[in-house]
């Protein structure tokens, strides 16, 4: 296993850790602002402000410039599409949050939350189709791993809501 692969897995698990902690604060926030959509908007606004201020520092402007210069230097078709594709990522993430919020209002959490976690299954199918098998190598171990993680997530959510 290469260093990049190990680091990538660690970053993925750190993402999962952050996403496990945030609902604690969301539950507390709902006591004072009983609107999930506005709550998420406030969270996004705070994040954008902090990230923007972080970018204002001279060291971080170097990171911003590097990204911009890399785009200019790389004249490939995909590089030129990087900004619209990332905009799509942002819109899609927003739609995902909105859909999840609506689903929780309509159906039991024990059903909708595990279904929401099935995004890994959809990515397993979508990624090689869209990105190509050379970028997304789908192995039997990866497939088995995804199935186990999705099943395990479902069991935990069901067990917490019994």
């Amino acid at each position: 296993m290469s260093r990049d692969h190990r680091l990538g897995i660690v970053f993925g698990l750190l993402t999962a850790f952050c996403w496990a902690i945030s609902p604690i604060f969301i539950r507390l926030g709902l006591l004072g602002l009983p609107s999930s959509l506005w709550g998420v908007t406030i969270g996004l606004l705070a994040s954008t402000l902090v990230y923007g201020l972080w970018f204002a520092g001279p060291e971080r402007q170097r990171l911003f410039s590097r990204g911009r210069d890399a785009l200019r230097a790389d004249q490939g078709r995909i590089a030129r599409l990087a900004i619209p594709i990332q905009i799509l990522a942002g819109v899609s993430a927003g739609i995902g949050v909105l859909s999840r919020t609506i689903s929780i209002d309509l159906a039991p959490i024990v059903v909708v939350v595990p279904l929401g976690h099935s995004s890994a299954l959809f990515t397993l199918i979508l990624a090689p189709l869209v990105l190509g098998a050379h970028l997304e190598r789908i192995t039997p171990r990866l497939t088995a791993g995804v199935l186990l993680v999705v099943a395990g997530a479902a069991l935990i959510v069901i067990g917490q809501n019994l």
Partner: protein, 143 residues
Amino acid sequence: MSAFAGILWALGSAVAFSITHVAVRRAVVHLGVALGTLLMLVVATVTIGSAALLIDQTTALAAATTAGLLYFAAAGLIHFVGGWSFMNASARLIGAARMSAATAASPLFAAILAVLAFNEDLNVLIASGVVLIAAGTYLIATG
């Protein structure tokens, strides 16, 4: 009927997040993690803010307490600044499929936190889920 609609919305959210993961994998390689995350934050703020205005209007926001706003701000910093930055970095290194699988392990950490920090009960289903996620993560890491 509404429960069925809820299931469809839940599946819709899974598909939407999947599209996000694939798009991020494609774009962040060229943009870098920092710029990519900032762009996502701006766009998502506009998207969800517009939905909040249309669906919930401004009544709840106008009556919000300071504590509520601060808690949501903290949740956002953890979920988006932390979570999305790590997500973009992960996708750049190991691709969308492996990143998506690793991030799906969040119930594992939620269960551990619930048991250790909040003294919640550990039952057979939760324990089984923890084992499955751990095994699945191992296969993803070594696959």
